[in-house]
Amino acid sequence: MGIYILKRLLLAVPTLVAASIIIFLLIHLAPGGPVRVMLGPMQDPALVEKLRHQLGLDLPLHQQYLRWAGKALQGDLGISVTIQRGAPVTELLRQRYGVTLQLAALSMVIALLIAIPTGITSALHQNKIADHLSRLVAMVGVSVPNFFLGIMLILVLGVFLKQPWATGGYVPPEEGLKENLIRMLLPAIALGTAYSAIVMRMLRSSMLDVMSQDYVRTAKAMGIGWGSTVRRDIVKNALIPVITVIGNSVGYLLGGSIVTETIFRMPGVGRLVITGVFRRDYPVIQGIVLSIVIIRIGINLVVDILYSIVDPRIRYGAEGE
């Protein structure tokens, strides 16, 4: 296992380098730049040149990349140029990731709270009313975009029922955990619902698959309690593909947070990306995308390790061969 993890970590290095080059090129090849945003309608050519020089934007692209990558290797993602000039990008990310990760975690909890019981119920009562109902709800859940659900929640609870907490806004946990959770609730529901539908459908089909296996029939024939079989054999084995979906969800949740944070006025990474793009804050955009790539690579690794824990038959590399 240790060798496997080491191999995976080494493999992550070229992935990261490739990702960083792509990120850098995509951002810098887009037309426009931060200096134009900074100056607005006041576009004195001398000032434009001066600012470009100050920001190092007059250097050849490869030099700019090497400069940025060299600092990134030391944990320095640069300085924000238009969002909060002078602020280290790592500091901005630290402030914002707290909000986004809390939102993602709560969304995940809500999604699993909905998905696991309904997925299991649906599979155990295949083609009965509970199953049809669950599948219908899941279909709706998958089909409704999170921004639409978010707007509807705001409209009904915030605008029609006049609940101030329902119109969004963020309260840091240190200023009141209860208020923090209340404000997080609707964004988490908006973000987590569609995801719960995906997990529920996956769990249902995975359980049905497992339930048709010989060993389940054998356990039944041997008179082992059904509840015990479901818990120990069916659900546990059915969770393996679900774990993959959960792992992949990190990307979904981070992507979904862009819209959700904007609608619910939450100062997270999602809104930072939007502002960064509109203001052409290269270091901030590069820092965020790079951090998301790192998170994705890390999560994939964790998912692979979890596989072997959930299903001991799965072994990797030298051990497995």
């Binding site: 134009r36 901005l92 119920t121």
Partner: protein, 593 residues
């Protein structure tokens, strides 16, 4: 059974979460607080330290929740140093943290109400201004406000090294003299008739002497290098700066030592300016009650918001001009480098510009996109202003027959139409305006390619290339002198939006002289700006307006109205609104959340 139980528990948990969120906040619990007190007792013979535990029972009354006035602003401020700021978002904060030297009243006239002046005198045909200052005013850092602070605020901007972006508005200053602690005299090298109006903008925040510090990269927020005040403003205004959480909010607290009686309004414990980029989220927050004031209301929502109970609205003629930039440095609307001096090409370009001017139906744009909440422009200035040329006011704007005549006059190859591009920034309504124009020009056989483009790319293309034809944008006029806008929009030779250049030493290599008229315009402006006689100056302004309109240097289309909305729990707020669209909390008389 177990599964059913699990599902039921999950469902109940979810419902409980939702219901707990909907519930009214629970009152504070009365607590018993045990305080440990350490007493030192001295005995003459031997010093003994005795630790006595006393149980002090504090019956805590519920701590009152701070009354927070929440203001939704659609754009994050860039820099809170009034000498540096150039953006609207910063203006919202500056208006409440600082006091201006001279203020603009609701009809945009200079006044000393809510300003640091008590009176002024203009002498020697506006070559000298004496400003009398308010006594008993203190800055948020505790220092007293005197004429030395105003002198510093002016001189810091005048210093070339500080690169203050609005220093030109200070005028041709020769010297700044402190007559006494509360009297300041400023002498100009030429008559500066616009001093009062221009100073309302350039001195909209007086700062304590020495407060800017030195400008540096590290202190800045965006764009220009920053100062000590960029993120820690210190003024004399009714609210003190507390914190700025980038991307989230800016918090202010009341300045209880403020000089004006009843300001800030009682009942406000804290003001939070929350940054909300999404207009729908902003309106929902206002209606839902989590925001009390919004900086703007979308045109399409104004009628609906106006009918909401508990919400007050106001519609005020605004200062945001919608305009079409025209590339005068390349065909079809301008001339290329090899066409300089070619009369036929110059005439062709002018006829096509005049075609565009008269073919656009502004009324249709105003009705379709702005629900009629806009005012047409007849030239570069406000149509109802006495500073707008009377001849221009008589002009017919939309005239399809006239447009067709100009199209034909441009030459046979244009008579049946031609193609051109219109860039529009892909935010707000600019591309919608472009699309309507595209439809309006189709009957003439003219095909407009609408190019949605990011704002930074828009400016990049416009200033650095000749590879564009027209551009749809807007510009906020933050001052109230017709001559100032003529300067901002048309005067500069080396970075004119329309590539309107004349041959001169300051013209960079990558530009070339374009359609004629610029040198003449610059000469007229230089004379007008120092003309002491108001009537003569007005006539010179008319002449310049007529020149740029007749030659269609750019198309100034319309001013949009400012649409405001606020909760009726914020009393008096509406009295402070004017065309600048400020959020002026000095006018709030009471707040009850």
């Amino acid at each position: 059974m177990r599964n059913k139980l699990f599902a039921a528990v999950a469902l109940v948990s979810m419902l409980a979460l939702v219901l707990s969120a909907c519930a009214q906040p629970t009152p504070e619990v009365v607590e018993k607080e045990v305080t440990k007190v350490v007493e030192a007792t001295k005995i003459v013979e031997k010093e003994v330290e005795v630790e006595v535990e006393k149980e002090v029972v504090v019956t805590a009354t519920p701590a009152p929740t701070p009354k927070e006035l929440r203001v939704g602003i659609s754009t994050e401020p860039w820099d809170l140093d009034p000498a540096i700021r150039t953006d609207t978002g910063s203006g919202y904060i500056i208006k409440n943290v600082y006091d201006p030297l001279i203020e603009l009243d609701q009809s945009n006239q200079p006044t000393c109400e809510f300003a640091l002046c008590t009176d002024w005198e203009l002498k020697d045909e506006a070559r000298t201004i004496i400003v009398y200052l308010r006594e008993g005013v203190t800055f948020h850092d505790g220092s007293d406000f005197t004429a030395h602070d105003v002198k510093y605020s002016i001189e810091w901007q005048l210093d070339e090294e500080n690169e203050a972006p609005n220093k030109e508005l200070l005028g041709p200053i020769d010297s700044v003299e402190v007559v006494d602690d509360y009297t300041l005299q400023v002498n100009f090298s030429d008559p500066y008739t616009g001093v009062l109006q221009e100073w309302t903008r350039v001195l909209d925040g007086v700062v304590p002497e020495g407060a800017h510090g030195e400008r540096s990269e590290e202190k800045g927020v965006a764009g220009f290098a920053g100062t000590d005040l960029s993120r820690n403003p210190v003024g004399t205004g009714p609210f003190k700066f507390v914190e700025w959480v980038s991307g989230s909010h800016i918090t202010l607290e009341p300045n209880n030592d403020y000089w004006a009686e009843g300001v800030p309004a009682p009942g406000i414990d804290r003001v939070v300016f929350e940054i909300i980029e999404d207009p729908a989220a902003m309106q929902a927050a206002l209606i839902g009650g989590s925001i009390h004031i919004v900086d703007k209301v979308p045109f399409r929502d104004f009628a609906t918001v106006s009918q909401m109970p508990g919400i007050e609205t106001a519609r005020i003629p605004g200062i945001q001009t919608q305009l079409i930039y025209i590339n005068l440095g390349a065909p079809p609307f301008g001339i290329s480098e090899d066409q300089v001096g070619n009369e036929a090409e110059i005439a062709r370009a002018k006829n096509l510009r005049k075609f565009l001017f008269h073919a656009i139906d502004r009324e249709e744009i105003a009705d379709e996109l702005f629900y009629g909440m806009a005012s047409n422009q007849y030239g570069p200035w406000y149509a109802d202003s006495e500073w707008t040329s009377p001849d221009l006011k008589e002009m017919t704007l939309h005239d399809s027959e006239l447009a067709q005549e100009y199209l034909e006059a441009a030459g046979p190859e244009y008579a049946d139409g031609f193609d051109f591009r219109m860039m529009c920034t892909n935010a707000q309504w600019f591309c919608d305006v472009s699309t309507i124009i595209q439809e309006q020009l189709r009957p003439y056989g003219v095909n407009v390619e609408v190019i949605p483009i990011d704002k930074s790319a828009f400016f990049d293309t416009m200033y650095e290339t000749f590879d564009w034809d027209t551009g749809m944008e807007d510009w906020g006029l933050s001052n109230f002198l017709a001559i100032s806008w003529l300067y901002s929009g048309y005067y500069r030779n080396n970075h004119n939006h329309n590539h309107w250049h004349h041959d001169a030493p300051d013209l960079p290599d990558h530009y070339h002289p374009t359609v004629p008229g610029h040198a003449e315009f610059v000469e007229m402006y230089d004379q007008a700006v120092i003309e002491p006689d108001e009537q003569t100056r007005k006539e010179m302004v008319y002449e310049m307006q007529e020149l740029v309109t007749e030659d269609v240097i750019q198309i100034d289309m319309m001013f949009l109205d400012n649409l405001h909305a606020w909760s009726d729990s914020v009393e008096g707020f509406g009295d402070g609104l004017n065309s600048q669209g400020n959020i002026n909390l000095k006018y709030v008389t009471a707040f009850s959340d």
